[in-house]
């Protein structure tokens, strides 16, 4: 088994990035004009990278499958973005953010990367404010913060429940400035379908113009993949309908190792599913756990009465409610990390205490927050704090100011008013910590091929803390990649334009066209969604919140069979040379059907429980932590990076051993 070179600079943790930046090679401005960079994806990662690379002087060719860069799924992020600003003076620091992130990730991330992330985090906020991102402010006109799960400080910056939108529009505006200057060539409604490797280096991509169906060749000196996560392998997730693994999977097939595919985040607070027709799940931001209390009834009789519609949650007395997170984790209470909160909800629902018809829902209750805020506000305004009606009204106003759009979204979907009755929530697939393996420079195992944002594996270990993905995406794109890519491109200043008239481009184009032909001519008996839903079921039931050996083995077999059936029986209507959504979906599902199997294989090999990966065979058997997940640092403190060898079952495992010099490895406790 080979070892991977993560290229972590030598020296003390806190000096690594600074001294590394001082030493790496740069490209002078005149030469940058002769260098092209392709960026696939315009979310926070790709958008910020495109804008910054263009501003530095490179010619950027950016791609997204939507009709505008502004629609990347980063737009949907709600709760906030972390930064070690310590504006609240509550003891935050770069080290603490670093520590929380490594601990939150259950000690499965790379120390040096995470430290760098924490280091540049403060800069992100400065940058975004300078761009005109309207973050929430307090009455003194200064920036406001909230706290998020798994930490004890308030370091999360936010713009109501639309933080991702505002940050993405900031990056989009920076892109627009460069598009106007001709430094970014924007290709909307284009999907990358393969990467082209020439002499061992990434030199371009094959993309399909989704409007005309034309297959195009695009060349560059380096290729950056910023295509987001692969949560849609589960069919139902909080991702957008088009979110896909295709870009990541195609580069995997061309030599980029895929790391820790089984690390998935199942987010505790999403709106429960309502029926088989369901096409996606909606997140209710984690920020709600700042003020919402999670509970189920203590008594089974109450559960039954609720399900039959004979009892309302508001009629259940305090002493008959089980605030199970507060009970099990007194130190962190409702603000335990996501993996812990999700499993606890599943535990209660599996025990029969779920509060909706399907038995898969728990309450998220704002009644006490409304009371608390209402009283506070009454006092501040010199009003009568014993007037229950007034207090409720004042409290509701505060809650509305904080979470108004989330409450509205909830009401529109469920037809229930969460100001009056607790929300119902259940965990759903949300984020993928696994992704393309990258070194400290964010380069994959293919020279000149980079992966940033959710598409890479680098910073969140086995579980991501809330408000850290936005931070990572922007850190990668604004502050890390623009430096590290220069080191590589400094060797390309004399290369000149890369021709697309080479056998490598020819071959890649042909294979893309062949696959499309196959889909169109197949004329099978089932739609693409038919297969996607089946895959989703296997993934959710056997590779979901809790996993075991038998289930994973079955999953591998079932996915393989489903994949074979898919290629025989899929039906893609229409033609190749037109706007054809079913054809787009077919390609994406074909890739999910391969990735899903590698996912299960990875989950099977990792017999420890860590972060979002919970193996039923690996739990604490006694003591205070009884029943909690049990990590195995002796055998599994490594990154599992898989090399493609044909079938997913043939993938070869490479291990990057994780070293912890600045943090002591501990079993996580949130008790």
């Amino acid at each position: 088994m080979s070892t991977l070179d993560s290229k972590i600079p030598k020296g003390p943790l806190k000096d690594k990035w600074t001294s590394y930046k001082d030493k790496i090679n740069l490209v002078n401005p005149a030469n940058k004009r002769n260098i092209d960079v392709i960026v696939v994806g315009t979310g926070l990662a790709g958008g910020s990278a495109s804008a910054t690379l263009a501003e530095l002087g490179y010619n950027v060719k950016a791609f997204c499958y939507q009709d505008s860069p502004r629609r990347a799924h980063s737009i949907a992020a709600q709760g906030g973005i972390n930064a070690a600003k310590n504006y609240q003076g509550d003891g935050d620091s770069v080290y603490r953010l670093f520590y929380d992130t490594v601990k939150g990730g259950d000690y499965r991330s790379r120390e040096a990367n995470v430290y760098r992330l924490a280091e540049v985090s403060a800069n992100i906020i400065d940058q975004c404010v300078a761009q005109g991102v309207p973050f929430a402010r307090d009455y003194g006109g200064l920036l406001d913060n909230r706290s998020f799960g798994g930490v004890l400080v308030s370091r999360t910056f936010y713009a109501k429940g639309q933080t991702g939108q505002q940050l993405l529009l900031g990056a989009y505006s920076a892109m627009n400035r460069q598009i106007a200057r001709g430094k970014i060539q924007m290709h909307n409604r284009h999907e990358m379908l393969d990467v082209v490797v020439v002499d061992g280096k990434a030199r371009g991509i094959i993309a399909r113009n989704l409007v005309t169906g034309e297959i195009e060749r695009h060349s560059a000196h380096a290729v950056v993949i910023a295509s987001g996560g692969y949560g849609n392998v589960y069919f139902l997730s909080t991702n957008a309908m088009g979110s896909n693994a295709t870009a990541a999977w195609k580069i995997h097939k061309k030599g980029a190792y895929f790391a820790n595919p089984c690390y998935t985040q199942i987010h505790p607070t999403c709106i429960p599913r309502s029926g088989d027709y369901q096409s996606k799940l909606t997140l209710m931001s984690e920020s709600l756990r700042n003020d919402g209390r999670i509970w189920v009834p203590k008594n089974m009789d109450d559960v039954k009465a609720i399900r039959e519609g004979k009892l309302k949650p508001t009629q259940i007395a305090e002493e008959n409610r089980d605030y199970y997170l507060e009970r099990r984790y007194p130190a962190f209470g409702n603000l335990v990390p996501r993996d812990v909160a999700s499993r606890a909800a599943k535990e209660r629902c599996d025990a029969g205490y779920g509060v909706n018809a399907t038995g898969e829902a728990v309450y998220l209750d704002f009644a006490s927050a409304i009371q608390r805020y209402g009283k506070e506000e009454a006092l501040v305004k010199g009003l009568d704090a014993s007037d229950a009606k007034l207090v409720k009204k004042l409290g509701q106003d505060i809650v509305k100011a904080k979470y108004g759009n989330l409450f509205q979204m909830y009401e529109k979907i469920t037809d229930d008013n969460p100001y009056e009755t607790p929300m119902m929530i259940y965990p759903a697939v949300h984020y993928t910590m696994g992704g393309i393996w990258v070194d400290y420079n964010l380069m994959t195992t293919v020279p000149g091929l980079y992966a940033i944002g959710e598409a890479n594996f680098s910073d969140h270990g086995a579980n991501r803390l809330g408000a850290s993905a936005l931070m990572q995406g922007l850190a990668d794109g604004y502050f890390v990649l623009p430096y590290t890519i220069g080191d590589y491109l400094s060797n390309d200043i004399r290369t000149g334009e890369i021709s697309t008239d080479s056998p490598e481009f020819e071959e890649a184009e042909k294979s893309v066209k062949d696959t499309i032909e196959k889909f169109i001519n197949n004329k099978g008996s089932h739609s693409v969604d038919y297969f996607h839903k089946k895959l989703g079921n296997i993934m959710w039931n056997k590779c979901g919140m809790s996993r075991n050996e038998q289930g994973l083995k079955e999953a591998i077999q079932e996915i393989k069979e489903l994949r074979e059936q898919f290629w025989k029986e899929v039906n893609v209507p229409g033609t190749a040379n037109e706007f054809n959504k079913e054809l787009e979906k077919a390609g994406r599902v074909a890739d999910f059907l391969e990735l899903g199997e590698l996912f299960a294989k990875d989950a099977l090999h990792r017999t420890e429980s860590c972060g979002g990966h919970f193996r039923e065979e690996s739990v604490e058997t006694d003591g205070e932590q009884k029943g909690e997940a049990l990590r195995d640092d002796q055998n599994f403190a490594y990154v599992a990076a898989w090399e493609y060898k044909g079938e997913p079952s043939d993938a070869v495992l490479h291990k990057e051993q994780l070293e912890f010099n600045d943090i002591e490895l501990k079993q996580r406790s949130y008790k």
Binding site: I124, I125, Q131, S173, Y277, P573
Partner: protein, 247 residues
Amino acid sequence: MNLTLKIWRQKGPKDQGKMVDYKVSDISEHMSFLEMLDVLNEQLIEKGEEPVAFDHDCREGICGMCSLYINGEAHGPDRGVTTCQLHMRMFNDGDTIYIEPFRAKAFPIIKDLTVDRSAFDRIQHAGGYVSVNTSGNTQDANAIPIPKDDADKAFDAATCIGCGACVASCKNSSAMLYVSAKVSQFALLPQGQIEAKDRVLNMVNQMDLEGFGNCTNTGACEVECPKGISLENIARMNREFLKASIK
């Protein structure tokens, strides 16, 4: 519920389109409108017919991709929602529902219900940004306090999702609400002041070049806007425009 759908079908940009009738049955009131269309599309594929092409992505009202004109209203009968957030409980068993694309000269049809809104992007290229480098060498974020009220108003304007419902609802196909949202966001913030004049002039100029119509203050845009972008923004843009034009 059982429903009759009358849907605009158009093979490509140059083809002539027409309304076609479809029937769907057993639609749950908890479905979203797009999930109802998913059901129709699955039926069509099963029968070997071409599914209806419509834009959508996030399905939670934030990306601005979905864009249907339902029973004569952009994003349908509900208020404050996008098409993807519209639920079938807004309809009744036996209803006939008319589904058309967002229509405007500046939004050519690509296929069926899908339109090309790239004109919106080009307006942003003309000035929808603050010219600050992304190098990170900026001043501390708290160096300039911004009155909460201004920050909140800027935020409200900045929540525009660029869906185009305002254009589709306007009898003149004016894009004033959309453009004014961005102009207002920056006009309300100190960061936006330096380029304020050029911004408003260039963005308005580009809006005209794209073929959007004039604003005659009918206010249909505000009513149909899923994000509640207020007409005040248009008033603010008009003031900014005037200020910039006088020199």
